[in-house]
Point group: C2
Chain length 596, copies 2
């Protein structure tokens, strides 16, 4: 099944919702306007459709394999990765100082969707490299930057994040890997890390592991964790590769999905200690790791949108082709393609509308990131940062939960054929299943939303978002079309539910934490649906204006219909979520623990 | 991961909700009271826990295999199947005249849940045999009954349902397999059938295929389809096996789940024609097939409950054992088992409460089936039949959709470990995915609910159910406890939503069929949640009474807490579904077909 990058919809979001023209006014982004976005995205689409997407199925059928410490990726991956690096795709968002293209996230994230849509397993490798680059940029010494950044930005070397240990998953305070300080300022690391994506592979000549570990004598808990660079091969002063470091892959996992991407168990220090280089200061590792994790969380949200889009495209293709049963309205006495059947249309619209809504939300978040990092006005930068921070758990949490529903519907549209692996619909369903888990489960995102993003500021940022939504409702009402009216009505109802929940969270987290945290995931889902729906409302307004001007009318009418559907089928789900949060906190925790 | 049959909860439903005492007053079921139910279920639990459940994982890891027309099932399956037949488990619900035990469905269906919970793949074989028995009982000639029924009821031979062809899935009007009438009253069949569960295997010496085909000259469409028995081996007059019939397995599928159960492509008549025997009359095949399919649909609903229960047990075990993070309420400064965390509890309760609710609904439906078939009062039998018929799409549709959510949550509770196949949580997720597809997709169930079960009688049966629910609300209010009040409130709100939707469906199906059918699945989900919730409300009332009497207090308190949770977290979902049906019919079908 081929993949067509949704360039048009990405550019619609970039132009009209993320407002690339404003991004292009930020210092350093002068050349990054709509034309650049379009040119980059079209090239990106061509490359990924032609080179990366065809490897998606074969990667599932012939996963990475492990033997004697060596991981061999699926045939074709190594060659494709070389083309990826040669095209400069790894450096898209990274600074020109280190060989990158220095494009805004508003463009880079859109390219990310295309890469992930083409091949989730393949795309994980660059995603992790992005994280390593981010960490070094923020906290690496000049020496570390000089040694590693260019190679990472070019993609010649790849990066990993080594957080998890058997006893330490969501709870990093339990990390036990230890680092012993050596003469000359280096460290030796000892320990076992699990679930390391692309922790070992054959696509690049070196792998730069970013590793959480405890220096001897460090405080217990999260305040005693440091971050280290541990390269697979040590790097000589002239930049050439030196000795093999004492970090070894002992096995890879047999997984439900994303099978082509090797998930490694790494053993550090079995032969005397793995040489590590401290990133930043001792005991501040978690702080740095969170910075890089935040980027990765956003990226995983985009993965959700991407795999849902791919599942949607495949479902549409099947629904257009499969002939089965007569139309329920009696409009034909012959069996028709199933895309005519109302329930199939409802399923496809459920996928489509949420994909477009999440894409719009992610695009707006990316623009906020760019403003946060580049706006010359400190207050605007600060506000943008707060807005972005509020959006990250929604982009990660809601888009990935959405991807489970969308890929499941993708299977369902195929009927019995969807359950047969050869069809390929099931792969998306299996691949997507990791997205609500890694880089922080949905509950971890929801804890972040409740704690750091809502309770901490007493719900101020959440209320500010609600106020902006209310403004959009006014514009919808002023427009007065049936679709706009329906959207205004459902947006207002959903916003009211949101405000009620925000008040509950802001005022009750201290006094009844169990009840509030029992509602954290419903709160996240409610918020995600609302904020994504708000972007669909903005899209609807734009589409109405452009359609009235005769601009790309079919596309604009489709956008209006899709937004209308979102209002009446997706936004309406928030009320049950509101009830669950506001009414259900006690009943969620009422069952005696030994009664489960 | 071991499996413990939920005998206690099954008996609670059988005793207090299905009211086995009333079933035991039906002619022929005099000995089938609570004591019998308990004795049979306990024996059933023992057998399935010890013999069948341990084969679940191995069947996933080493699926049935195909070579040269021969299917070899997973090692251990053949031996276990022999024990299954020796124990008389196939004949549980079938007439004593043919060697069965003649137990009511109220007991048989509970045993079914245990068998399916132990091993979904294994249990499919007996499930399909049940269907074949049902069809022969209803429409088979005395000769067919004499030849096949005893062997099927004992399980010595197994049965299959041959409906699907490559071009004919949900739409059986497109069946092309043809039957040519022969001298002596037999037929010769020619054609290809796909997706035939246990269409070929090595567990029994003969396989009795029930096959839909067209007799030459039959009318087009569904009115020209006949039903045939096509045995793998012809049967001699003395009952011994004769020549190999001309039906051959040409391949089996590579599936997402239920991998141990072979899904066959069967070729009929490549060597001169497969000998077939007409069941009932020509051209009435679909009618008979629907009878047997209705039994199978109920059975698939029970599969949903069963696999969800198994996923729940595994998730609970992991949550009790896995230590990660401190409690959010600050009650401990040490990391605790994750079952303490509110979101994990919410997930487990979401699984548990829906499992218990669906189980209660299925049990009540089984009792209605028994009354429909055995009650001496014709009016009561007729009413019970109508009630059962109304419940079948809910048991099938809602329980199986629920199983997708529950098994997904089962993965989620495991975090990263859930994505690793060795853990086993992913198997339930994969296995469950077929349940909303086979024996009629959720949309097919929903069409049945809209068309035959609601629009046809103008919503009368649905309204009668609503009236019974209202009565339960009165009892809840009279009880006055917080849990009962919460349940009464949410039940009343949900019932109002249901009545609104029923009115919409009953009045608009003719005038705006597309809008109504676009809401068919939300209507089904709403109805299932409500009716299952109603049974949880009844359970709550019983549990309050028994708890007050000091009877099994821990169990009863758990039931109350679980029902309370269901009211505030599950029943509240119906309002979004109501909105989708009543508001969203037009927007579901508004997108131009070429815009997808």
């Amino acid at each position: 099944m081929s993949y067509t990058a949704p360039v048009k919809d990405l550019l619609f979001a970039i132009e009209h919702l993320a407002q690339i023209d404003q991004v292009a006014q930020l210092p350093g982004f002068e050349d990054a306007g709509l034309d650049t976005a379009a040119a980059v995205l079209e090239e990106c689409a061509r490359f990924n459709q032609d080179v990366i997407a065809p490897l998606n199925r074969v990667g599932d059928e012939h996963p990475s394999s492990f033997q004697d410490g060596v991981v061999t990726t699926t045939e074709g991956f190594k060659q494709a990765y070389r083309q990826f690096t040669e095209g400069g795709w790894q450096g898209l968002q990274h600074p020109a100082d280190f060989g990158g293209q220095g494009l805004p996230k508003t463009i880079g994230a859109a390219c990310g969707e295309v890469l992930h849509g083409a091949n989730l397993s393949f795309a994980l490798c660059p995603l992790l490299t992005d994280g390593a680059i981010e960490a070094l940029l923020i906290a690496g010494s000049d020496a570390l930057k000089a040694t590693y950044l260019e190679k990472l930005v070019s993609g010649e070397w790849t990066g990993t994040m080594n957080l998890t240990e058997p006893q330490a998953g969501s709870d990093l305070s339990l990390v036990r890997t230890r680092a012993e300080s050596q003469k000359g300022g280096t460290y030796k690391l000892f320990g076992t890390k699990i679930f390391i994506t692309y922790g070992e592979h054959d696509m690049a000549e070196n792998i730069v592991h970013l590793v959480l570990a405890r220096v001897a004598g460090a405080p217990e808990g999260v305040k005693g964790i440091s971050l280290f660079v541990v390269p697979k091969f040590l790097v000589n002063p002239d930049g050439s590769l030196g000795a093999r470091n004492d970090v070894h892959c002992v096995s890879i996992e047999h997984k439900l999905g994303i099978k082509a991407s090797p998930t490694a168990v790494l053993q550090f220090g079995d032969q005397g200690g793995a040489v590590g280089y401290l990133v930043g200061e001792e005991n501040r590792g978690l702080e740095y790791m969170f910075i890089m994790m935040n980027a990765a969380r956003y990226g995983v949200g985009v993965q959700g949108i991407a795999v849902a889009e791919r599942a949607y495209q495949q479902a549409v293709a099947y629904a257009r082709e499969r002939v089965q049963s007569r139309p329920v309205d009696g409009s034909s006495s012959a069996s028709s393609t199933i895309v005519h059947h109302p329930d199939v249309r409802r399923m496809l619209m459920t996928m489509r509308s949420q994909i477009e809504a999440c894409r719009a939300m992610a695009s707006v978040a990316a623009a906020a990131y760019d403003a946060a990092h580049h706006h010359p006005d400190a207050q605007i930068a600060k506000d943008s940062a707060a807005f972005y921070e509020f959006l990250v758990p929604l982009v990660k949490g809601y888009s990935t939960e959405m991807s489970q529903e969308a890929t499941s519907l993708g299977v369902q549209v195929h009927g019995g054929m969807g359950f047969i692996e050869e069809t390929g619909a099931a792969q998306h369903y299996r691949d997507a299943r990791i997205l609500t888990i890694y880089e922080g489960t949905t509950a971890i995102q929801a804890n972040d939303l409740v704690g750091r993003k809502t309770a901490r500021d007493g719900g101020q940022m959440a209320k500010a978002v609600a106020a902006r939504i209310e403004k959009t409702e006014g514009e919808l009402l002023a427009s007065g079309t049936p679709a706009a009216q329906a959207m205004a009505r459902e947006l207002a109802r959903a916003r009211a539910a949101f405000v009620e929940v925000v008040d509950f969270v802001a005022t009750q987290t201290r006094s009844q934490p169990n009840a509030v945290f029992a509602g954290s995931v419903p709160y996240l889902m409610l918020s995600g649906m609302l904020v994504a729906g708000w972007q669909m409302a903005r899209a609807l307004l734009v589409a109405q204006q452009l359609s009235a001007k005769g601009q790309d009318v079919a596309f604009m009418q489709a956008k209006i219909a899709t937004a209308h559907f979102y209002a009446e089928h997706i936004l309406v789900r928030v009320h049950g979520l509101r009830d669950a949060v506001v009414l259900g906190g006690d009943s969620a925790c009422a069952l005696a623990l030994d009664a489960f």
